[in-house]
Amino acid sequence: TSLTVEGLTRWLRTYATTIADHEEHLTELDAAIGDADHGTNMARGMTSVAALLDDQTFETLDVLAKKVGMALVSAVGGAAGPLYGTFWLRFAQPLAGLATADADQLSRALHAAVDGVRQRGKADVGDKTMLDALVPAVDAYDTAITQGADLPVALTRAAEAADAGCAATVPMVARKGRASYLGERSAGHQDPGATSAALLLRAAVK
């Protein structure tokens, strides 16, 4: 089992649908501790990605991922644009020229992607950001692979860990992003970016 161009396309299409379904919810989460645009931002971005998938066909994973990253960078803006854009731009790098990726190759891509987010945003686990979903997800993926799980199972573990990481943002006091302006008042709310990140992993196993 491996990730094909078709598989990645399906993942992205599923995510676009998921985001459309959750647009209001994400905006509501952002209203509580941010500026009420995360849903709109992500919807605008994934609409642009879906248009890309409709318009073009791709031979390799890296070309597809790079285009997705570029589409997000140019369509989203805000914090989510550069972060999710960087995610896919970096995801592409270890997959240069590949039409399919096995579990290890996908691990490298995910690591590159998440490291990219970390560098771009200068944040880390515990800051109440999307990294609180992404980092545990990649760790859980790696653990599952090391334990011999196949790709779908590893991705399922990743999605579960992302969900848990997302839930763990609730009590956190934000140190990065807009929510940090609220100080202690940011506690008690789930981070919108962690939520959209958890949905991204969920979309991979749908």
Partner: protein, 335 residues
Amino acid sequence: MKKLINAPDAVVADALRGFEAAYAGRVKVDHELATVYRADPPLLGTVGLVSGGGSGHEPLHAGYVGHGMLSAACCGQVFTSPVPEQVLTATRRVDTGAGVLQLVKNYTGDVMNFEMAAEMAAEEEGGLEIATVVLDDDVAVENSTWTAGRRGTGATVFAEKLAGAAAEEGRPLADVAAIARRVNENARSMGMALAPCTPPSAGRPNFTLAEDEMEMGVGIHGEPGRATAPLAPAAEIAEQLLAPILADLPFSRGDQVLTLVNGMGSTPLIELYLMYGEVARILAAHGIHVARPLVGNFITSLDMAGCSVTLVRADDELVRLWDAPVDTPALRWGR
């Protein structure tokens, strides 16, 4: 939600069409990239000034494009920073060989998008010279290297004006950037809200306030502030806004300041005049001299009700740059 709009996702594009018509001959609008430029071609050898950010803060930034101020303003969606492509294109277009200063309000999204644009510009052959100054004047947010730091608010208006005046004088990029940096280092702001704003795409306010409550320490994105406080008379509100500002820099007896009393978008001018009276009274009592006051809606938060106060400690050069001619939709004097 009641607004003079056609559809939530068309607000920025529609407003830019109206803006272009209202200021025809003075600005040009690239509608594809939602970017406003000066209508007159950039003077060879002068530094270009590019700013931008989410929309919803009008007249910031597009209203400050013109002689003596910005060369270009990149407009994002409401409360959403512009994308690198907008900034990159604007930066290229306003460069006359003397380089470009990017003025960025300190929000994660703004900083990252401008950063990516600067990286892309640097990768180009014969890459143009870019300097970036990030503005972070809002004392409502505690500053630390562990956090996203302070928000950029009222200082932006002054940085755009004073750096713009320096650029218009033909000064080199390093000088123009140094002016902006000096403004930011000497600027402190604090804001409050009587009522929240309603972002068009959300359709409802981000927070609620009781009839006898106000929100202290708000930014300009409709986010809740640092604390909800009991509603108070204007004199008292002015004290609550100025106390943290004065203590932070700190400002001291004998200081000369530029002062902004800024409306958040739906605050009537009569209330801003009144607030300025309270602010002036308190500053006088502290022996702080207001060299130049500015009162009105200059950096807003859609239809939020409330105000913010910005002080900039200003030496004579900064005051002189403030007085320099400016001809933009929102600030105009001397020509």
